[in-house]
């Protein structure tokens, strides 16, 4: 199953609702393109909703890290929302859990972005 992205705006924050698999190939490219599109449109506050991501591999993890650094280098913020247990465990193992700002609730995540 490939990855799908749905984009919406809430209080000036761009939320990317991702579903499917983030793996080498299509999923990784899709997330990279989606983040670039958001930045190209002038928004640099991005919330990645991973609630429907059922699988991620090392390439997908790398893509999340690349998205994080790309957005940060543009002066913006990227946060993660609704990690599944599998994704949570992988970020723990790779010590990335403390790198990302991770939220379990959308309203809390939106409020956590700088104004």
């Amino acid at each position: 199953m490939s990855m799908k992205v749905h984009t919406r705006q809430v209080d000036g924050i761009t939320i990317l609702d991702l579903s499917g698999r983030i793996t080498l190939g299509e999923g990784s490219v899709t997330i990279r393109d989606a983040v670039r599109d958001v930045l190209a449109k002038g928004s640099n506050k991005i919330l990645l909703n991973l609630g429907d991501i059922n699988y991620i591999d090392s390439s997908g993890i790398g893509e999340l890290v690349s998205a994080f650094t790309t957005v940060r280098n543009s002066g913006g913020e990227l946060k993660l929302l609704n990690l599944t247990k599998k994704v949570h465990d992988l970020l723990q193992i790779t010590k990335l859990y403390t790198v990302f700002d991770i939220k379990d609730d959308e309203a809390t995540a939106i409020a956590a972005f700088s104004k």
């Binding site: 793996t23 080498l24 591999d57 090392s58 790398g62 890290v65 994080f68 650094t69 599998k86 790779t94």
Partner: protein, 146 residues
């Protein structure tokens, strides 16, 4: 008790992401058949997927003239998976530690780390040409003194 083989299969596949998917699916099937629990099966499947990605991407560099080889073996003690490529060879000692502060924000380089995290033993053997990676997961925890 002798560590006898109970099941075995091997494939030779082209250097593609479809091959990676097939190897991953076979790993999941073998892990289930070997009786691993529902938390361990996806870990084994992911480790094997990462090994296959390594062979296709870093070993054979998607070269259509080169193939990857995958062998799955269930013994009374372990699930053993061997993945090999026909690439230039891999120096496992030369892989940077992805947990080191200077590497934590790198966009790649976590595959071998995850394989080691999820399997009990990971061994590398240099072929001519290529690299063979052997992944082993024990079916029961090793008991002291056995």
């Amino acid at each position: 008790m002798a560590d006898s083989i109970t099941s075995r299969v091997s494939f030779t596949l082209d250097s593609s992401l479809e091959s990676v998917d097939k190897v991953e699916q076979t790993a999941e099937q073998y892990a289930k058949q070997a009786g691993f629990d529902e938390d361990t099966v996806p870990h084994i499947a992911m480790a094997v997927r990462e090994a296959a990605v390594n062979a296709v991407l870093h070993g054979n560099a998607y070269d259509k003239q080169k193939q990857i080889h995958a062998a799955f073996e269930t013994t009374t003690d372990s699930l053993i998976i061997r993945i090999s490529d026909e690439g230039p060879g891999l120096d496992p000692e030369g892989i940077p530690d992805p947990l080191a502060p200077e590497n934590i924000l790198r966009g790649s380089g976590r595959g071998i780390f995850l394989i080691r995290a999820f399997m009990d033993e990971v061994n590398f053997r240099q072929l001519n040409p290529g690299t063979e990676m052997t992944l082993i997961k024990h079916r029961t925890p090793a008991q002291p003194g056995t």
